[in-house]
């Protein structure tokens, strides 16, 4: 089921409660963002493909990593991308696999922010082109949450993204919560930093919760987006025209539906007030 993204759309990342919410509130959201990894083990999620407008999200390509994605994995991603007629594939600017200490492939099973330096930049640019050709879909890259400085880094994540956009025509999946986490953990003022980013390249926006524990800010899809995230969203909408805004409230099957509905309305209101509706 194909959806036009000519006007900005509002969607929800898939979680167990989402189909029920959609059936009780028709028109509440425009699309579901579906994680490739979820499709591999959740038949209920797979059933929605083709019946509901869906955007494919992926955390398995390890685009900043040193181990290439296997043909089998790429085949599966391509299969789902085609099935759901996704307008693009959102992937993390991160690595999931690496060469282990004994030459084996280690799969962390979770995206890890990479070292930020020219060699990573080259690797990401090459991998993105290679995977776009193989998958026959546009790949947009998502800024990862930076919890600590990664050794070998010679630039900040924001400089890295700027360089990536300067050297290529890459579009971004801008995760506002990851951005806030990275800025706070790096001692950077997010309100000033956001204006220096290539906001015109943002194709999709993610919103989710942020938590503070053990002197560090962490990603939290079990909590609603903080007030500051909505301020950044307005800043983005004032300078760019994203095609999609996705609320990622998908870590808790019991996420309060009234909060989901209120935040979706808030996003739609922000779109209307900034002339995007």
């Amino acid at each position: 089921m194909r959806l036009s993204f000519e006007h900005p759309r509002v969607g929800l990342a898939y979680a167990g409660y989402v189909p029920g919410l959609m059936s009780r509130h028709a028109g509440l959201i425009d699309y579901i963002e579906m994680a490739f990894e979820r499709l591999q083990h959740d038949p209920q999620a797979a059933l929605l493909v083709g019946k509901t407008p869906t955007v494919l999200h992926c955390a398995s390509l390890s685009i900043a990593g040193t181990v290439s994605a296997s043909d089998a994995l790429l085949g599966e991603v391509r299969h789902w991308a085609t099935q759901m007629a996704t307008p693009w594939i959102g992937e993390h600017l991160a690595f999931v696999t690496a060469i282990g200490l004994h030459g084996e492939t280690v799969n962390v099973g979770y995206t890890v922010a990479p070292p930020l330096n020219p060699s990573s930049l080259e690797r990401v640019i090459a991998a993105r082109h290679r995977y776009e050709r193989t998958l026959d879909h546009q790949i947009i890259l998502e800024n990862p949450p930076q919890y600590f400085r990664v050794p070998s880094s010679t630039m900040t994540q924001f400089d890295f993204i700027r360089a990536l956009c300067a050297e290529t025509d890459l579009e971004l999946l801008f995760d506002i919560s990851h951005f806030l986490i990275t800025a706070r953990n790096s001692g950077i003022d997010p309100q000033r930093a956001v204006r220096k980013l290539p906001l015109d390249r943002i194709r999709e926006v993610h919103l989710s919760g942020v938590r503070y524990e053990m002197q560090t800010y962490w990603d939290d899809h079990g909590e609603p987006a903080p007030e500051e995230a909505f301020l950044v969203l307005r800043e983005i909408l004032a300078h760019s025209r994203p095609s999609a805004i996705t609320l990622e409230y998908n870590w808790c099957a019991l996420f309060p539906e009234d909060v989901v509905q209120a935040d979706i309305q808030r996003v739609r209101q922000s779109l209307a007030e900034t002339g995007h509706a």
Partner: protein, 269 residues
Amino acid sequence: MSTEANMTVMASALVDSKLLSAIQNPLAQDLNPDVRAGAEGLDSQKLALFAGFITMVRHNNDLFQHLPNTLRVLRHYGVELSVFRDHFLATGRPAKLLADKIERALTTLRHFADSRRATRFVGLRDVLTHEECHWRISQDLANYHYPVPPARVGVSARAIPQKLAPTYVARIMRAPEKLVAALNERQPLRSAAYRPHYRLYVGDVRACAVRTIRVTRCACQVLGLVDRRRACAEILALVVREGQRLETARATLLALSDADVISFHNGTT
């Protein structure tokens, strides 16, 4: 140091709890030189917390289903990540089977709740105990067949009491329901009154549910002796030896029977 070496060490430590422990210890002499070089400049304490974060996310759905309020209490006190870091360091990657995953998590959580550090986290033990009892009974109900007991007989010295369903007894200091209400209202957990009591968790075989009954210490002692072999007389004698009055112990046996926790049978069946 090369980008590749850093990624190798980070990825390896995030899946290998022993390696992560080793690089957390700057004095470790037996570190492989490649590991030592790849870990140079790495904030290993933060990496360990990140491992805890990944572990927490992997447990989220399952633990939120079975131990939701225990997680909320940990979060309330700002110790969720450090507990999951310790869980990763102790156990490595999560088990594949749900029951194993929960059992391993319960071991870590119980260990933490019983630690000296956790004494200041009011309510943690009570909420954990409450949810653990619910989990154990749901597992017992799912995994064991409780046969229809033989014909009941009246209470007598020779009658053998038998449990009608899985039971667990817990010592509770603050009512878990009150602690959860305090969490919901964002009140300090100390606002739940300190009222120590014994609580009996009983599985309902037909409804596949759990009911709770406030019980006396004597009831705990009696239930601890109900084993399908001891007769009432022996149980009463043992309970009296532990300091209870005979009349109290006898009334307790009858009360447990009235509450459908136990029934009496003759020894020949």
